[in-house]
């Protein structure tokens, strides 16, 4: 980053390098946007933040600053208070805070290991599930009426003081012949053709 003493001068310096016709952050692809002035990649959230700071000065409007949201995670009987920045997914928040939440597919909607449970009131206010999320949730262990996949929920002020539960594993998930619509064909031990 530029090490210019005064914030005012820093912004002016940045303004020389960031083109005025940048598309909005949501349309940038991938996790990082490349800005030529640093010669390296910046995280999308930082670029968005920079852009907001610039606009704030230029347009004198009230542009919301990215703020931190406090929430409580219930994991294996423990309650962990966590502060997370807006925009991160709950899966990222869990990993940042050493909370054990598997994300086997890395957030690609190809598994259900980041399954979390919300309170009914909060669940009703969360953004709609995509069909793909619903399909993967169908396979989640301990599925409830207020379950979502952590990789699909982004931190917003809506989640202020939220209580997020990671469901306990129970033994009956592993056994059972017709359990959870598992992947492999067939079960074991029973005759195929009668």
């Amino acid at each position: 980053m530029l090490h210019v003493a005064s914030p005012f001068l820093r912004r002016r310096a940045l303004a020389c390098f960031i083109p005025s016709s940048l598309p909005p952050p949501s349309s940038w692809q991938g996790d990082r946007a490349i800005l030529s002035f640093t010669g390296s990649t910046l995280p999308k959230s930082m670029v968005g933040d920079l852009r907001r700071r610039l606009l704030r000065r230029t347009y004198h409007g009230t542009v919301p600053r990215a703020k931190d949201v406090t929430m409580t995670w219930h994991v294996e009987g423990e309650a962990i208070a966590v502060t997370a920045p807006e925009g991160k997914t709950l899966l990222e928040v869990a990993h940042d805070n050493d909370i054990e939440l598997e994300g086997a597919c890395g957030g690609e909607l190809a598994c259900s290991t980041c399954h979390v449970v919300f309170t009914p009131e909060l669940y009703a206010r969360l953004p709609e599930k995509k069909e793909e999320e619903e399909d993967m949730l169908d396979l989640a262990w301990g599925l409830t009426e207020t379950s979502r996949l952590g990789c699909q929920i982004k931190v917003t002020p809506l989640l202020e003081n939220a209580v997020i539960t990671i469901p306990e594993e129970t033994n009956n998930m592993l056994g059972g012949e017709d359990e959870g619509k598992g992947g492999a064909a067939g079960g074991q031990g029973e005759p195929w053709a009668k």
């Binding site: 598994c111 262990w141 067939g186 079960g187 074991q188 009668k194």
Partner: protein, 524 residues
Amino acid sequence: MYTLRQYAVRFHRRQPVAAGPFVEFASPKHHVCFSTTPLYASASNIISRVGIVGAGPSGFYVAKYLLKELGPGATVDVMDSLPTPFGLVRTGVAPDHPEVKAVQSDFEKVAGDPRFSFYGNVRVGYDVDVATLRSLYDVLVLAYGASEDRTLGIPGEDTLEGVVSARTFVNWYNGHPDYAQDAKLTGMLGEILAQASAQVAVLGQGNVALDCARVLAKRPADLETSDICEHALVVLRESKLAAVSVVGRRGHGQAAFTIKELRELSRIPGARLVVPPEEVARGLTEFTIAELAQSRPRKRLADLVASLPGPAVGGQAGEGGERVVALRFLLLPRAFLPDPRRPRRLGAVVFERARLELDGQGKRVVAVGTGETEELPCQLALRSIGYKSQPVDGLPFDNKKAVVPNRHGRVLEAASEEAVPVPGVYCTGWVKRGPSGIINTNIYDARETVAAIMEDAAQGKLPFSSSFSLLEVLAQAGRKKSEDVVSWEGYEKIDAWERRHGAARGKPREKVTDSHRLLEIARS
């Protein structure tokens, strides 16, 4: 607490004999070992050597959760019969499902732990026996999965060419060295699929069956950017397949496939997914409807099946070169019939129509034959009714359930209620609970097994192990030269080679299917 003997050996091995914030390593130079905490041993310090047989998801998840519990001096050796790790994630997951393979990056992080070692191309039961492994490791975990198929046991299954297990077909297109190099198999599949209006029947309705149908039905151009093997692409390009039927014994309310895969199958460009409406109707018995009402996921799946269009009037072949994928229900396979013009080849499968009934206890829905038969002409039948584990010499096996007898992951001496656990031997994955579930099921499974291991360690129930290394033992037995065992670094060389050659063709990787070549690259 350690026994005096354990204490002496740990002292000699320079391993910690006390746990806590102040740990003193005893060394032969000091005649006395001292620490500022009482000499108690936490469970994590008792386990120093872990051996895991099988480097698939179950083996890796056990390694992952064990490494979290173990101390810095412990070692975890994961061995696999193939030169490459990851098991079915590499040889089972379909090439057009790269997002499912993403779990490999999690496993690669586990492999990056300095306490982790990989021993590829080591066959337990052949290169090294179980008794030797038990003497090498404090904890031995069996995670070798299921490498055999369940069979139908009907006439023609073993004699006709064209009856192939789905596992064989999947291993073939995914480049498993034992199948991809089989010229006879490639030749047979190529010949059958190149026939005009070839038809295929897939028996079974799990996700493996849908994978087979999808790979056969997709346009080869749509598979060219996946990591499917080149020899399979050659065959698929020449394929004149007209129709694939995916046949199940029971109704659509009992189908084992999952909704994501079914949706995908209904959206393939160049192929049309159909379901006979009368088979859907006959599958909606009272108890089925009641069962569906209790489970939202099943109801969603059944509704999706019911919403699919019916087959074209007047035949199975689609118009305009479109391939037809038909889901068929309530058909019990009774026999494979030869092709009258070529009696050694498959010509048709005979099914008996079935109706649904509740079993004796009223819990499970079963398919019962009605006496009416139906002949489905096809040249290739893929049997996809489940996998089966094999026993290993030196360990008990439950032949009825085809698993290693166990209780919460502790291997038992025999397959009976009263059997006692074998000290220091555990199991996880399909070899523990049977071939069901998805990759993620191994997470909970592994946690259960690790909990059993740590419990036993804390209670001093683990046996004693020697301090030879696996490589030394293999070399001494004369079965495997050290250079033929693939280390993690060797696998990384294979991985880099495959990615480089894949990039040249626009694929994520070009798999090496020759085991000698794999060993060569690993050694280079």
